[in-house]
């Protein structure tokens, strides 16, 4: 079939029928009896917890499963009438584009222009055709200014757009995206989702998007497909999905839907706009603001503000080589963090969050100013980097190792192979490795720092992490014995995830281009803007109201 026929045809962009698949040597099938159709020009959101089969379904739709991964497959997958099981990913690429989670491994060329041009070159397109296609796709994705850049000088968001451009340059009918925003800051994440919506509307590209942060993209979707243990558990409109998730899997609820459900308001909103319209329809335009009365404080059991300072930065300047030249990444940071505080370090990609944590841990030397830290355990963005042995006990020998395992709740796993642990357990093991020997008995070090710990995490795992952070900070709500509160650490988490920050943090430090641009209680910071604000804050626009529970209390009072 010609490319033109594939592109213009009226057949479904994707038709999956009775699909079952098992990875090589896997005990349990990754997909079981999956049937699904995506119409041309449709925007479908693929929801589900981790390991529910979302990524495998996307890989089956682009031919990587089974052609690249092997394994056993049954059923039928057709992409624009091409048999995806019989055709390889290269043949399918004219009809389908695929964008994975990690942008680093999705670029294979040195410059942006060459990367975008590569798929056309592989198909033998003429240079003039290639030049036009590169120009058009770069304009559509607003990246013409990047064309002459080397790919290793791009930020995560820019790299993700370049990978998307390379996937779109053949003008496929269907684009598959596997958590494309998981490594992006809120600004870049929102921009990517609305870019997809625009491509969907203006180019007619069908979109199948797997995401954990549903609040970010539910409003853009025409339809939601929820997966559970390799099967489709729900397939319907976004509003129906919210009603379904409320009872079937509350971990998939969006914050705005949870807000309405707690406040007893129907229908559940698919986004901020729908939520505001519903509230306006009910005559609720300004629910009473109870920030001063304690409703706005998500962490009323926060430690006393006068506990010992454990991290103190004074006029801290750090200079790093970012490829082309030396650049000031931190510019005169003044910051004091006290024992027991739970602090979210937020800001755009490249704002200096990781650099601040790495400087505190001694990985970078300041060029001016100073930073004093009362012992720090830092877990970087890739917990797997800490795991080098084949037995948990071999990573953490002796009493110090056992104490660290107890702190993270992994003492039962001492004989396990780290590779057999779940993602959350591996993360906790890596944290125990960073903690081992830095504790005085059961007392934690002054600072426990986590760098982007929620990448690719579903809501259930984030809730576990919130509980672990509270325990590390010595929060009495999470520890059995109140006396352990005094041994809690300051927990500092660099994160892009505003909903997660609202759940765990009592204080938010917002960095912008190497300087502290805001520092205050999380309820205040996360309700005072657009990008660095929770969905509930954007719905209600009330100072101090950031979580569904606070919002529901305010709404109940307003009615």
């Amino acid at each position: 079939m010609s490319e033109l026929a594939i592109r213009r045809g009226a057949a479904p962009a994707l038709a999956v029928s009775g699909l079952g698949y098992s990875y090589p040597q896997a005990a349990v099938p990754a997909l079981a009896d999956v049937s699904l159709e995506v119409a041309p020009g449709e925007f479908v959101l693929l929801a589900g917890r981790s390991a529910s089969g979302k990524s495998t379904l996307l890989k089956a739709a682009c031919g990587l499963v089974p052609h690249f991964h092997g394994g056993e497959i049954g059923g039928e997958v057709r992409v624009a009438e091409l048999d995806a099981i019989a055709s390889g990913p290269g043949d399918l690429a004219a009809a389908v584009g695929y964008l994975a989670q990690d942008p680093e491994t999705q670029v294979v060329s040195t410059t942006v222009a060459a990367e975008i041009e590569l798929p056309l070159e592989m198909r033998g397109n003429e240079p003039a055709d290639r030049a036009r296609a590169v120009e058009e796709v770069s304009l559509a994705l607003a990246i013409p200014h990047l064309l002459d850049r080397a790919v290793d000088t791009l930020s995560g968001g820019e790299l993700q757009r370049v990978a998307l451009a390379a996937a779109l340059v053949t003008r496929p009918r269907l684009i598959l995206l596997d958590e494309p925003t998981s490594q992006l800051d809120p600004v870049a994440g929102d921009e990517l989702i609305w870019l997809l919506r625009r491509l969907n509307e203006e180019w007619g590209v069908a979109v199948l998007l797997a995401e954990h942060r549903l609040e970010r993209c539910l409003a853009a979707a025409d339809r939601v497909v929820a997966m559970e243990s390799g099967r489709i558990a729900f397939d319907g409109a976004p509003a129906e999905f919210l009603a379904w998730s409320q009872h079937a899997d509350p971990a998939l609820e969006t914050p705005a839907a949870r807000l309405f459900s707690l406040a007893g308001i129907d229908p559940l909103p698919v986004g901020v706009r729908a939520a505001r319209q519903t509230l306006r329809g009910m005559g609720i335009t300004h629910p009473p603001n109870r920030a001063g009365s304690g409703v706005g404080d998500p962490h009323p059991s926060a430690p006393a503000p006068k506990s010992d300072p454990v991290l103190r930065a004074k006029n801290l300047w750090v200079e790093l080589d970012r490829g082309e030249d030396l650049r000031d990444v931190l510019k005169g940071i003044d910051l004091t963090i006290r024992r027991g505080e739970r602090v979210a370090l937020m800001g755009r990609n490249g704002a200096g969050k990781s650099t601040l944590l790495r400087t505190a841990a001694g990985l970078h030397e300041p060029v001016a100013g100073k930073i004093e830290v009362n012992s720090i355990a830092l877990l970087t963005q890739n917990p797997g980097d800490y795991l080098v042995r084949e037995r948990v006990g071999d990573e953490l020998p002796g009493e110090q190792g056992a104490a660290a395992l107890r702190v993270v709740g992994l003492e039962e796993k001492i004989d396990a192979d780290p590779r057999d642990l779940s993602g959350g357990e591996r993360q906790r093991l890596a944290l125990a490795i960073a903690l081992a020997g830095r504790m005085d008995g059961e007392s934690l070090p002054g600072v426990v720092a986590l760098d982007e710990p929620t990448r690719g995490m579903d809501r259930a795992r984030k809730d576990d992490l919130v509980a672990l952070i509270a325990r590390l900070a010595g929060d009495v709500d999470f520890v059995a014995d109140e006396s352990t509160k005094s041994t809690g650490a300051a927990v500092v988490v660099a994160t892009h995830d505003v909903e997660f920050a609202a759940e765990f943090a009592e204080r938010v430090v917002l960095l912008g281009d190497g300087v502290v641009i805001a520092d205050g209680p999380s309820a205040e910071i996360l309700s005072g803007g657009w990008y660095f604000a929770t969905e509930v804050a954007r719905v209600l626009d009330l100072p101090g109201i950031v979580t569904p529970e606070q919002g529901a209390a305010a709404l109940r009072e307003g009615r």
């Binding site: 680093e104 670029v107 294979v108 798929p119 198909r123 033998g124 240079p127 020997g437």
Partner: protein, 305 residues
Amino acid sequence: MKSPFAYQPRSRPLQLASPGAAVAYLGAIVAVAFLYSNPLVLIAAGVAAVAAGLLAGARRAVRVALKMGLALALLIVVVNALVVSRGETVLARLGDWPLFGQVDVTLEAIVAGASGGLRAAVTMIAAAVYSACVDPDRVLRVLRPLAGRSALTATLVSRLVPVAAADAARLRDAARLRGPGAAEVGKAPLARRLLAGSLDRAVDVAATLELRGYSLDAPRPRSRPARSRYDRRFYAVAAAVLVVAIAGKALGADDFQTYPTVEVGLDPATLAVAAIVALSGLAPGRVSSLLGIAEQTRHAEVARV
């Protein structure tokens, strides 16, 4: 940290030229270094390579290559001085050394070593300028129709080397961040972990290549890619340098002898070859930049009028 030799796109003539023209130009400078032993011509070739790199904006690559090249040159001088005892001008008698035997350091051996060292340094600087200024994607595009499998391997390597370097840096950081109570990270477990990670990365990159259609047996495009307006300049300079170098060699411009005594010819032919080779280093400059001073002077005069 990015390697100083990594390609950096810039709007300079050497980067904009086609890979063939850039290779011809830099290759001509290296060819001079291999054709000649006369230190003056070798220094001229070194000056040309350094000037080419600086005018192409590859300051860091030139600086690092210069340091490495001079260190290598020094090593060659020392080794040559210790292992070659020929030459009449003995500077030091160091007695009997194990393996080396009687070691006499002569001026001639030092000069011969310096000549070889200069040649190696020129080659290193030119290679560094090539690496920092010639787009590997364009080189691979030229190679792909001729040797598809080699181009695929080169593509994978060119992508995986920086990724593996970044992985290694991350693993080193993680090793430093382990608590003092955790097991020490030995080199073997770290290497195993890096290898396992690299294999995972290689699978991801290979999947991306597959999705981009690398496995397709695509027809070659009928029309040739557009050439750069700077190609002629680089081909012409390369041809001129080679013609002058070969003619000079034939006319005895490489008059240089190290043993038994050092004799360096500085006749007009040698000076002319050295001058032309050194001037070839200006080829990557923009004409407007090279004439910048004259232009500024003219503008200043116009302004005064």
